[in-house]
Symmetry: C3
Subunit: 377 residues, 3 copies
């Protein structure tokens, strides 16, 4: 993967960036959080799931974010829609199922109004004769698919497609659209989402916290990370190289069928690609690990980790799920405990933003700048 | 029961009423909720209990609403009082018992100040010689009894008596004052009280949600409900007729002794009477079901269901309680699940108030108008 | 112990003080609580622990208050410091241990920055060459030791030392510095801290609530308490005399080795000394009971009770801990139930501040005046 970001307006000199972390309010204030939802998250692409979860007509995924609930659906003609999960009559949710297959229509359990896969109001039992069904389709959110990953945007007219947003990241040779979900797990943590996010932007903390990662990836560095940073967003290409075959407990491939060409692992696959609001994509030769942070309030975040493998790989034949996930589970657990401890420190009125490490925390410094621009502060 | 509301200033034409439900804030906003408590609930009659629960001198019922706590008491001379459950010395609650009998005095457990059944300060041990006990009676709320039902009003001078407020409803032939409480149960639900309230104002949802009710009551309709709506308040007389004897699982009478004349069921008793803030009274020939919604916060409501039967009816002789309650329990459970699902839908910023059904939701439309008038919005 | 408060500017006439308790907002309002934290608690000395808990180099106690977390440490040279428990790099807490011994350095678990016992930054691994460690010591709070009791103040420059603050209280003959902690227990209560505090300022409630206390201490009175009240703070010397040897369930000494002279009990030791924000010190001939109220929010308080005995007294030889604590546990439990009931009463909009008892509640009246002055209301 190479960084190609033609839309970047300038090269950012690390020396010009501010020298300390975000202020306390950014991690603790309810007002800051509300502002962040309105400015940062309301106009961003949110990762919803993998296109393989929408393979058949009627398949749907429910995506809840803050007070929103959206159903991402596939219709008989193959079109993917993002429909607000709110009946146009009395406002009831149409379903609370996290995912499923809707044969013909989403039928509201309250009064039986029914909607097609594209949101059209099919039936409104016993409404007055002059009632115009065509005026009450489910409201829509924007939806986009990129590299097999499905995204939703609550903005009515998003400024960019996901492809434009992720222009620097070319993951095409890994064929993420030809993968399947091997695991998908969520956990609620007592910290602001940015504590988790910033934790993931650097490996300065890896040597003393992540022995499993430090064994298979070279986490120590000589020079700064991301010397050429994209300007348009928080995307980032990592260059921590693998010492062994893959990010597993023994450093060996965890899946026999590789991404892209199932017979031959892609070289130099230890890339990390960061993008959008709170999504991290780690691409190894044999699997992809997607981590997504969903803010619940200023002090609480839902962390979700999804694993993708070659769609043809069979569990217990081509991979042992426990082995494949072992490093991920250990690392998550280590970072989660750390991040909750950090949040308690940030809560103190005595907290003062500290200096960045010039070698390891250059991405954090860039995130801070772009984040503050995005929220207008 | 016939609708007679001489104080109604005008007949409301359904066609003139607004065409959609309440806005999102009405169901979700803390500010709206605080305003609603101050304007709507602070000046309304609240159902507290049945007069049979205050039959003996010293009997009391505690009624908690929002931050208020009131003791409704009966004195030796028979007078019923509503006394704020707050000692005039350091402010302690006098009792946390939901009901009971207070022989001589309510004695504060903190310093032993004691109050009579009418709130007069009887004793204030070891206070200074010039302390004037008559200056510190318990503060009073307004209290009223109508048809055996006891009501409290936090307003110092309520605009109307309960009888005036409920002028349209003549339930005298059912002799509700000659009944007793057969059951009394509360449950906390995760939705705004108006979701529950509006759910009870229509039977558009009955056919697909309440098979037990739909069997014994004719829930389908030809014309609009409540074509002649009272103007003064939300009172309403239902005209869903019974297909069988009573609202029970088999459609048979649930109590052998009827309301009013114990030997002869009152005809056409399938009336529903709605009134005041959040109280529903369903009168069947053989029992009364009272449902009361007490808002706890914008997203949480306590629902209470009370059953009244003829005071002379004996449990296990004249009625089987499980049989009598079976439809109520099933219906409550169906509506509770629905209402919590609706609230989650209403929380979405994508919710937009939807159109009313001209046949089934005319009462809801009227409620909306009167409610908005009552809160001044 | 005698009251000697030379700094007192005037003698307060009890008759001149306001005649009723604090308003409802003082016990219920979030805004009042925030103001109280900023004005009252931010500049007060907070009791942290006993100096015997910091006897060895590296010993530390963690003290959390509101969002603050402070480590009180003893260095090799014997100096006691109060250090904010917030790493100067990314803000993580250095430790979540309530107490312990730190051999060489507090090492941040995030990136390994390490700090000495006095807060100096000893190491910051792999930071840039020009990074100046001396610019990033842990931030400091004020710390003071008085009579063996350790106090912290979040104000950068406290107006007084603890000794000045407690000038009226001479406890020197009890040698509190030569004691040890016999028990230390916390409990969370659902009431404002001032409900607990005011409860402890009077024994008007003792006769009917605390039979164990009333047996061994003469709680009934003829004249007003604290006729000569100190003006500078809330300090107070009690004069409820002991009827028996000590405050135990049988009135006998609970510890064989006394405070001060281990062979001879100090006479007239039934003094109570109140001071500072929310700390009560009860000194008996054979033990000290310290009670501390830490506000968590307007409606929640952590109560902590610590017992001190002669440092040479041995458990099971010189004292039976269960016997020593029996009255304290019973009284605490009685007061806790009372205070939660009082809070529910104070929540009512019908609460109106009530009159003080001229004999028993004179200290409460004085507290009210000084408290309102301290918070500027």
């Amino acid at each position: 993967m190479t960084i190609t970001n033609p839309s970047a307006k300038s090269q950012i000199s690390i020396a010009d960036l501010p020298d300390t972390g975000l202020p306390r309010d950014a991690y603790t204030s309810d007002d800051w959080f509300a502002h962040e939802l309105d400015t940062f998250f309301a106009a961003r692409w949110h990762y919803v799931g993998h296109v393989s979860q929408l393979s058949k007509a009627g398949d749907f995924i429910k995506f809840d974010f803050a007070d929103y609930s959206v159903l991402v659906t596939r219709s008989r003609s193959g079109e993917i829609s993002a429909l607000h999960n709110v009946c146009r009559h009395r406002g009831s949710r149409l379903t609370d199922d996290a995912k499923g297959n809707c044969k013909r229509a989403f039928v509201c359990s309250y009064h039986g109004w029914s909607y097609g896969h594209g949101g059209e109001l099919l039936g409104a039992p016993r409404m007055q004769a002059d009632f115009d069904k065509s005026a009450f389709p489910l409201k829509r959110a924007a939806v986009d698919v990129w590299a097999g990953l499905v995204f939703v945007n609550f903005s009515e007219s998003p400024a960019t497609t996901v492809a434009q947003h992720l222009a620097v990241a070319d993951l095409s040779k890994y064929r993420l659209d030809e993968t399947k979900v091997a695991w998908d797990e969520t956990k609620v943590l007592k910290c602001n989402w940015k504590v988790l996010w910033e934790n993931g932007l650097e490996c300065y903390h890896c040597a003393i916290n992540h022995p499993e990662v430090s064994k298979v990836i070279r986490v120590e560095r000589d020079g700064p990370l991301g010397t050429v940073l994209p300007d348009g967003d928080f995307d980032w290409t990592n260059d921590y190289p693998l010492n062994f075959e893959s990010l597993t407990i023994d450093g060996k491939y965890g899946v026999k069928k590789f991404l892209g060409d199932p017979e031959t692992p892609q070289p130099n696959a230890s890339y990390l690609s960061w993008h959008s609001g709170s999504l991290e994509v780690v691409v190894l030769p044999d699997y992809v690990k997607i981590t997504n942070y969903k803010p619940l309030d200023a002090h609480t975040t839902e962390a979700r980790v999804i694993g993708l493998v070659n769609a043809d790989a069979q569990e217990d034949v081509d991979y042992d799920l426990a082995h494949l996930r072992e490093v991920s589970i250990a690392t998550r657990s280590q970072d989660d405990a750390l991040c909750e401890l950090i949040q308690r420190g940030l809560n103190s009125p005595a907290y003062e933003p500290g200096p960045f490490n010039d070698t390891y925390e250059t991405i954090n410094r860039n995130f801070k700048r772009l984040y503050l621009e995005a929220i207008g502060r």
